[in-house]
């Protein structure tokens, strides 16, 4: 299990002992021990805020610990900054990419290198690495035009080029499609097995940790709660250790993506019952009608190509597809952010002037956007302000905001949706991602919409937050709202949607009822197969 070479092959690659880090009154890491061995993939499992990211930041020199010691290959050392970490052979593939969109792949890879830049040399190196690890990519492609999966490849190549001994992946699959994740894990195996590197996989997805690691450390509230070899791990006990309580079977499936581990034919118990409830408010008249809609991007590319879709009250329609096939544009369209080139959008029998500010919101279409920082929230404003963004007149008289009423309304929403924040006047950026998402959800549902568009609603959220979001969406549909669920997580769609459409290259290439849908047929359709 130890790799060839290295100063002291018997010593573990990394030994973190008693690492403690406080931020103000919050203990992010509390006496954490972690040992990484060469030739092994070490999974670190935990909810958001469990201290995983902080621990990794300590390792790569972004955060200085308050206490504790670090040994690399048996040698004690301190890591003051990322450069020192790089010198020690530690590299990290970040959750949020640090790439320059305007530059090409090889330029991005070379970024940060010192000395004279030889483009041919870098290109060859990129080609060699991509071949060696099966990370197929065009070195001359512009990064801004790549999909999330390809960008991650660039990020990985960037790391591998420095030939690190220790490689950290922070939530690597949060932006990937299932196939891309699969590919990533095989690369990971390669990196570990053939070259004796130590790899850390930070994740909150049980499935992938069970699937791709050799040993697992579970963190909760800044502490290590368990450490065990993967072959001895059982999904259910891992989940319990991670959350600190029993998780309901239903949301467990969604949160951990366990569909592949458990029997995929076994339907979650809650769903059938819910659909029955939904059918008690039958409605044949569609609330939202998208008719022959075409949206062209810059340069005339068809981002949406003649799309037609009906949505009825009380149903959840899932839009599946590999990312970058028009889902984002569909979300933007329903957020009044892009005008149409052809077709029309009708809500409650009224045509909506798409692209006109706030038109969709006024028509009764609420949106949980794919990237909440893009159009969902204003980070520099307070929680109250974000909660009242769409309809400030609710708490205003003659155009003047009633501060007491605004605070009161916000306080109610904060309680109802259990938004974790220091108060209504806390700036939104001080909230965790899950709580920011709850702010969006609370606001959009407060508008009592007829249609709710949820684009990647659980992306990047932790177990508890996913469970909450999933329940809310289902409840919203039961309450008679037409829900459009745009997601690249197939399990999520399979679990929630009554009807599923598949998008590919801006078109709707197929439609399935929930009964007919399974991972395989959907996968085939997403891949463009017309069987």
């Amino acid at each position: 299990m130890t790799g060839a070479g290295g100063p002291d092959p018997s010593a573990p690659a990394v030994e973190l002992t008693g690492i403690t880090k406080r931020f103000g009154g919050i203990v992010a890491c509390d006496q954490v021990d972690l040992t990484l061995h060469r030739g092994r993939v070490h999974g670190i499992l935990g909810e958001n805020g469990a201290g995983k990211s902080t621990l990794m930041k300590v390792l790569i020199g972004l955060v200085l610990p308050d206490a504790g010691s670090i040994r690399i290959d048996g040698q004690p050392c301190t890591i003051h900054d990322p450069l020192a970490a790089a010198a020690l052979g530690i590299a990290m593939v970040h959750q949020h990419f640090s790439l320059v969109d305007q530059l090409s792949v090889w330029e991005n890879v070379a970024l940060g290198e010192e000395g004279r830049l030889k483009s041919a040399g870098v290109r060859d190196r990129v080609a060699a690495i991509s071949q060696q690890y099966g990370l197929d990519i065009d070195p001359d492609a512009r990064v801004g035009e790549l999909t999330a999966g390809l960008r991650q490849r660039v990020e990985i190549i960037k790391c591998l080029r420095r030939n690190p001994h220790i490689l950290v992946f922070d939530e690597p699959t949060s932006v990937l499609t299932p196939e891309e994740s699969e590919q990533l894990f095989s690369t990971l195996r390669e990196v570990v097995a053939a070259e004796g590197r130590a790899v850390v996989l930070v994740s909150h997805k049980l499935d992938e940790v069970l699937h791709a690691t050799d040993e697992i450390t579970i963190m909760r509230q800044g502490r290590v709660v368990d450490h065990l070899p993967t072959r001895e791990a059982v999904a259910r006990s891992l989940a319990r250790a991670m959350v600190g309580r029993e998780v309901s079977l239903r949301s467990e499936r969604a949160a951990f993506g366990l569909a592949e581990i458990e029997d995929p034919d076994q339907e979650p118990s809650g769903n059938g019952e819910n659909r029955q409830l939904a059918e008690t408010t039958p409605s044949d008249e569609p609330v939202l009608r998208i008719e022959g809609v075409t949206v062209k991007g810059r340069g005339g590319a068809r981002l949406l190509d003649d799309i037609s879709l009906d949505l009825r009250a009380g149903e959840i329609v899932g839009v599946a597809g590999v990312e970058g096939n028009g889902q984002r544009t569909l979300g933007d369209l329903l957020s009044s952010l892009v005008p149409l080139d052809a077709g029309r959008v009708v809500v409650n029998d009224k045509e909506v002037p798409t692209g006109s500010p706030g038109a969709m919101a006024r028509a009764g279409v609420a949106v949980i956007p794919e990237d909440r920082h893009d159009s969902g929230v204003v980070l520099d404003m307070t929680v109250v302000e974000n909660l009242l963004m769409v309809d400030p007149h609710r708490v205003a008289r003659h155009g003047v905001l009633d501060k007491a009423r605004a605070t009161e309304t916000a306080q109610q929403m904060i309680e109802e949706f259990d938004i974790g924040c220091s108060g209504p006047d806390a700036p939104l950026w001080s909230l965790s991602g899950g709580n920011q998402q709850r702010v969006v959800l609370a606001r959009e549902l407060a508008a009592e919409p007829d249609v709710l568009v949820a684009a990647q609603p659980t992306r990047g959220l932790d177990v508890g937050a996913i469970e909450y979001m999933t329940d809310r969406l289902r409840q919203t549909a039961i309450d008679g709202v037409a829900v459009l669920l745009i997601s690249s997580e197939l399990e999520e769609i399979l679990e929630l949607a009554d009807r599923i459409v598949v998008m590919s290259r801006g078109r709707i290439v197929g439609e399935l009822s929930q009964a007919d849908a399974n991972l395989e047929t959907l996968g085939l359709m997403m891949g463009g197969s017309t069987e």
Partner: protein, 363 residues
């Protein structure tokens, strides 16, 4: 950080940066053969100490504050209007045209003259708004370039009697000068403890309160700030960037235009002595921009910032009489301006870094 700690931090930052600027200034003045102490004394005398000087300083602070308030409003919408100098000049020109070609005597006329000034500034800023929202020309370019167009346009107006030029009887042998505003058309300058200043000072203060209130407490201000922070979220929430942005630019220009009119009708000897002349705006537009910068684009801090910049200006008038070469005193003034802008920049950069760190911390 508590409120007290924040205040203490500002005080320390300003004390430090001003002290450094003064220290460097003293070295420069002494090294070039001047005397430092009289320079410092003149600065204090000219701005507040000598008789009648703080009134003079207030009179300068009022237009600076008005310009800064307009800047704050367009900045909140996420727009970078840097053409206040031209908008101010246009406002003055509109006020002059109204006074001598349209209006009559009396107090009502003073009010109308000020409104015309605001209209002039608004028109000039709206030209930039039109270019931005109709053709996508960045407002940072158009507002700046329109300053030079304004200078030329007003110069042209001052060549023609039917526009701005005074008739021969009233201009004597001078060229390019407007008539002098009649006494009953001027903004009153009551005397308080031996200090005179136009009552537009109170107007400017009231407007500062109004702007702060509107931005913080009204739906309009709320939506304007939303647009400035995140245009896409604003668009989705029903804020039209065209309507709100163009309005914010126009209001910003109106404030600058109002400042120009107030300078013309209330300025005394500081500003052209009730006549419009080329160069009338005298950098008040540019300086007002710095005031807004020092106030970190907030209305109430702009009140203090405007007074401080006005002090620098009135003080500098006295420094020029100390015998130290004017190029050197210009350097001193520049250093002090820089010292005023360093603390806001430091705090801005630090806050942003903290916010980013917090944002990544919580992923």
């Amino acid at each position: 950080m508590t409120r007290g700690a924040r205040v203490a931090e500002w005080v320390v930052l300003y004390a430090l940066s001003v002290a450094v600027a003064l220290a460097i200034s003293s070295v420069i003045v002494e090294a070039t053969g001047g005397d430092w102490w009289p320079v410092l004394e003149a600065l204090v005398d000219g701005s507040i100490k000598a008789s009648g000087r703080w009134g003079e300083t207030l009179g300068v602070a009022a237009p600076l504050l008005l310009v800064a308030l307009g800047t704050v409003i367009s900045a909140k919408a996420g727009l970078i209007n840097i053409g206040q100098e031209g908008q101010l000049l246009m406002g003055a020109a509109f006020a002059v045209f109204f006074s001598f070609r349209i209006g009559g005597p009396g107090p009502l006329n003073v009010v109308l003259l000020l409104l015309f000034g605001a209209l002039g500034g608004a028109v000039w800023a709206s030209a930039a708004g039109l270019l931005r929202y109709w053709r996508g020309v960045p407002e940072v370019l158009s507002t700046l370039l329109l300053v030079f167009v304004a200078i030329q346009a007003v110069g042209y107006g001052l060549k023609w009697q039917w526009l701005l030029l005074a008739d021969e009887a009233s201009r004597g042998n001078r060229n390019l000068v407007s008539e002098q505003l009649a006494k009953n058309n001027r903004i009153p300058r009551p005397d308080i403890f031996g200090n005179e200043f136009p009552i537009t000072v109170y107007v400017a203060l009231a407007l500062a309160l109004a702007v702060a209130y509107v931005l913080a407490r009204t739906v309009w201000g709320f939506r304007l700030r939303m647009l400035g922070h995140n245009p896409r979220a604003a668009q989705r929430s029903g804020v039209s960037s065209t309507v709100y942005g163009a309005t914010a630019l126009a209001i910003g220009g109106a404030f600058a235009g109002l400042a120009g009119a107030a300078m013309f009708a209330g300025g005394g000897f500081s500003f052209g002595n009730y006549r419009l002349v080329p160069g009338f705006s005298d950098n008040i537009g540019w300086t007002g921009l710095l005031v807004a910068l020092m106030a970190r684009e907030r209305a109430l801090p702009a009140v203090v910032a405007a007074f401080v910049f006005a002090m620098l200006r009135t003080g500098a008038g006295f420094v020029n009489s100390t015998g130290v070469e004017s190029r050197i005193t210009d350097v001193v003034q520049g250093l002090l301006v820089l010292a005023l802008l360093v603390p806001p920049a430091v705090v801005f950069l630090r806050d942003r870094r903290r916010a980013r760190a917090a944002a990544t911390e919580r992923v």
